[in-house]
Assembly symmetry: D2
Homo-oligomer: 355 residues x 4
């Protein structure tokens, strides 16, 4: 797993910059016979698109995906699946003033130090727009997972420090709810919080929870390729993520062994403190992860920074920016979990007991 390639067997390579011709990817390793068409991918891309809510950028992109290979008569053929999403609303001039100034909290300085050359327009490759390719890839993975009886959901469980309203714990409606919230009252409170912070010229973070159901016991690789290790690496690879927990996570560090162990009974596990992973291997319970999302670093308030010559400068970031990475990051995190599981499903096929 390096650079722009994700996965070992279900392998997604992505490309594209915020203000280039477009973004896309190639999946090498998807088995033949998986039902797939553009509409299946588009449905997930639409969940990630800038909405009309207060948290969202004003940049409008259709994000219409086009399949370029690997599908014939409605099913995958086992050959690489390429997809492309053209950029439309690029307005490059919005960004020319940040050409030589490093935006605090962004990758600008690191990319400059690393490559010496940088497509500064809208963050280039480091823009959140690269997640278009993740969501498209994850949608393909989800089709493979569906054939295995595995489904992945994601929802927001905290926004700007606000937990859900008591009693709102519903997973089933989150996909349609604003902010992918666990209930309508929660969504309303969060919307108000966003509006307030937007007025101040500031931004917010939050916490997202992901759940995978139907993961067969035994999934995951020993030692370095543990299921939770793969999840942590995948989720932390999404920009703005600063923490990952599995099951009880940091709370487990404060429990006794007798409190944290999940007893087994003839009807299955009696609890799921482990988050569905024991010793790195799936236990067959729901796989549960939580992710800390930092506030978006592009704020309208004035900030201190330096330019590429090392001189001090101040910067106010106008333009079309989200107030919070939530809700748009939620389908991205879901996609990453789908990609991890699809890869491990294929890896598992090669390692299972020889008969």
């Amino acid at each position: 797993m390096s650079g722009n390639v994700f996965g070992e067997l279900f392998r997604l390579t992505t490309y594209g910059e915020s203000h280039g011709p477009g973004l896309g990817g190639v999946i090498d390793g998807c088995p033949a016979g998986v039902p797939l068409n553009e509409a299946m991918i588009q449905a997930d891309l639409d969940l990630r698109r800038p909405g009309k809510g207060p948290a969202s950028t004003a940049r409008q992109e259709a994000d219409a995906v086009r399949l370029l290979s690997g599908v014939f008569e409605g099913v995958t053929t086992g050959t690489p699946i390429a997809f492309h999403v053209a950029n439309q609303d690029q307005r490059s001039r919005d960004y020319s003033d940040i050409k030589d100034v490093f935006r605090p909290g962004h990758a600008d300085f690191g990319f400059h130090a690393k490559f010496g050359v940088r497509d500064y327009r809208g963050g280039g490759r480091s823009s959140g727009r690269e997640t278009v390719s993740r969501v498209a890839g994850g949608a393909v993975a989800a089709q493979l997972l569906a054939l295995e009886g595995i489904s992945v959901q994601a929802r927001t469980v905290e926004l700007g420090g606000l937990p859900p309203v008591a009693g709102e714990v519903d997973w089933d409606t989150t996909r349609e709810m604003p902010f992918f919230a666990p209930g309508p009252q929660t969504a309303e409170q969060w919307e108000q919080r966003i509006r307030d912070v937007k007025r101040q010229g500031d931004t917010l973070g939050g916490v997202v929870e992901i759940r995978a159901q139907g993961v067969p016991p035994g999934l995951g690789e020993p030692v370095f390729g543990k299921l939770d290790a793969r999840l942590a690496g995948a989720l932390m690879s999404v920009g703005a993520v600063k923490g990952v927990e599995i099951g009880e996570g940091f709370a487990a560090a404060r429990l006794l062994g007798s409190q944290n162990n999940d007893p087994m009974t003839s009807k299955g596990f009696a609890s799921n403190k482990s988050g569905g992973v024991l010793g790195g291997i799936a236990s067959g319970q729901d796989v549960l992860a939580r992710v800390a999302v930092k506030p978006i670093p592009s704020i309208a308030l004035e900030q201190r920074t330096v330019n590429s010559a090392g001189k001090e400068a101040t910067i106010r970031i106008g333009g079309r920016h989200d107030i919070s990475a939530i809700p748009r990051i939620v389908p991205v995190l879901r996609a990453m979990v789908s990609l991890v599981l699809a890869d491990l499903i294929l890896l598992d096929r090669r390692l299972a007991r020889q008969r």
Copy 2:
């Protein structure tokens, strides 16, 4: 990164079971010319060995490492570096009673579901003893990092829910301190806590902090191979780890953008909330990670479980077990960070601007 191989260019493959002939590994990709001998590796292995403290197992292993290849006249030759640590004190009979019963909180059930066959003696491959190979590999990585001016430290910042005693924040003495604690009074409190819990037949978790200094700005790969993604995957791959944070971590999810951004000045960054990573790329500040360690699942108290036939059973785990994965996990986590950084250093060489 799958199964038993870690890294892409500085690539460590490990092997070995708790009660087999021994454990070891091969590093493929270490450049030529790095000073290396067995004593350098042994020093780190000794930090991981069962100690005399109350948290430790009674199993005594010399864990003497032997270098088998790749070093000539005191320096690496660019060819694979193989090392082996023989098992000595194996007492297989201690474990025969758990042959057919799944220990709660362990990988037993997952391994059984995955492979159908299992070396049940002491957990076999899923035993914490596999970390011997990680520490040895990390010690080699640290030699390479030293030539680049990079050093990695690790310390415990919470044990059984107890934070350090106020004012004890010293990084420099932690390597010699019990529990790798940030100060002597803290160590004393933690020791008392361990004794109490041991008497109850129970176990404890904690939180460990890792710091890498001297990491050059620009290190890390865009998109999937981000520095923090690699760290999260590596740290979560260590058994007992249930959460990973970079910089402010979950606390960042509750800050405003204006609070969380690190301003840049002509003298460098004015704060380090990011933990040295921006957009997945090193900023040149200290890299800071925190890890949640769950309590050890092997407890002396009676637990409910099932056997391999699915029948209910109870189990009390005697034998020689640690009360907490801390302190022994601390050098393991440090080793993982060294392995990540060594790999990224080599990856960086191939991607830097062509001149």
Copy 3:
């Protein structure tokens, strides 16, 4: 190296079918700062295009390449370089009669056995048209190699059993010569041979030689990643190739050690029987490989075969087919050598002696 990904550090992933929307690829790992534009790639693609000569298919494709990412202001940025070549002249109806019949000498039967589903139109993914992506990728690799002072050439040294006319041994004009022949008289003879065989409804093979100049001594990896091993795997991965030789090749098997060894002098090697590779590592001399290309299996003569139900059938392959894979395979083989060398150049950077 698997499936549709080539290389470890300079990594090309390709996609596309003969009769889908198009073909393309993504290069992950090209360093920043390499001059690149579409014209540089197009020049090599034009060498591979169906020509007007007697050996060529009547299918006409502009094969116009479009760069989709990774280049900014005329140089690479270190991020993935994606390119796409749209299919234009697809005429799917030409192929509907072979939907259920396996063409002898083709991959049809193997793909059917492997995937169970198959894009039969024009061979789908197994069509020689996939080499468009190889040539485009190789053109990018060649830009990187040029900065290192390395150049790669390829020429035909035998066609339909006919060696070059005596005295025609010129490397320098082969790029402009019909069939990439080493001289004009040779080209004329080969053209006549092609015409004769075409009239019979049959096809021809040949032998191609590739030369890389400027390869630095030390390039190549020990043991499995030897320079010649990488070349052999890369060249044999091109459809129609049935043999690969390095230096003296099979002739070396008939020499004595004293005849085959290249003596070293203070002015360099006194001969180059080794083809520039000793023990798998570049010696600094010209790297020389030769490749056997089988006759194209699509012949107009009637052949015996079976259909997908296992029933016997006969087949005559009409349509627009080349008489020989030469000359169009020549730039493909050159591209593969460029891809291997670019990858090894990057690999070498990480393994060289630490200073």
Copy 4:
């Protein structure tokens, strides 16, 4: 496939130098449940050992293999299989005179250019002794293949330019025959040839043929991971190999399409000119490869060379050297084919049609 790692899923990492403590390897990715013990590996290692024949070195090594992990109660457990072969008869002083002089035809100069540091004793890592690890790894692969009904054989078909005696074409006895010859008279002629050349202080090459039976149709990956590409890369990675042919190989370049195509009938293919590979995918016929082996470069005759300071020198290589890489290379080539097939078998499991 780079450096010292072979395979993607059935992945062998090897280590060791000619005069270090020993050689060995780790296989990561072998499925659980494959019968395995040390005797199975030893049987193949014994075929590679220096014999008593005239072609062999006088160095005597027991080459006793020890399994270090991954096997429990006679079957593999799905965890890494490590093995080690200790070096015994090292006589380092034999080699001290070549410390600073590059042996013609060897990797000495390339290793010096690459790494700057070199274990010169007996060639270090570039010694033919590294093939011990290949043979051991191949023996494990063969156990997996046996469960799939696949067997691999290898024999010599030419030595020092001498083909087999007419009528000696037997595959079945080659394993027991001197030189792995196809018949006793052939072996006798070859032995005489070896004796003659040895007397002159010179060395010989030859040609080896490998046959895999039971390879299922469909094995192999499209495009870059073709079955023949993998074979060519694997076989060429063995020191002394300078050419690889599949099926008719270079002879195919001189046939017409109508001569080279293998007709299909309801009873299967009517011929096997393709060597069991069509479009890179197994056809289900025997897979046939031929390999050119150069004469051993260590000759007793005086040769011109240079030392590490670039000064001219002469060298006569005494010591204990084989006259021909044949027969000892034969089991090595067989092992490489087994490793390729085991890897492709596992790769195939993940790509086959989803049901």
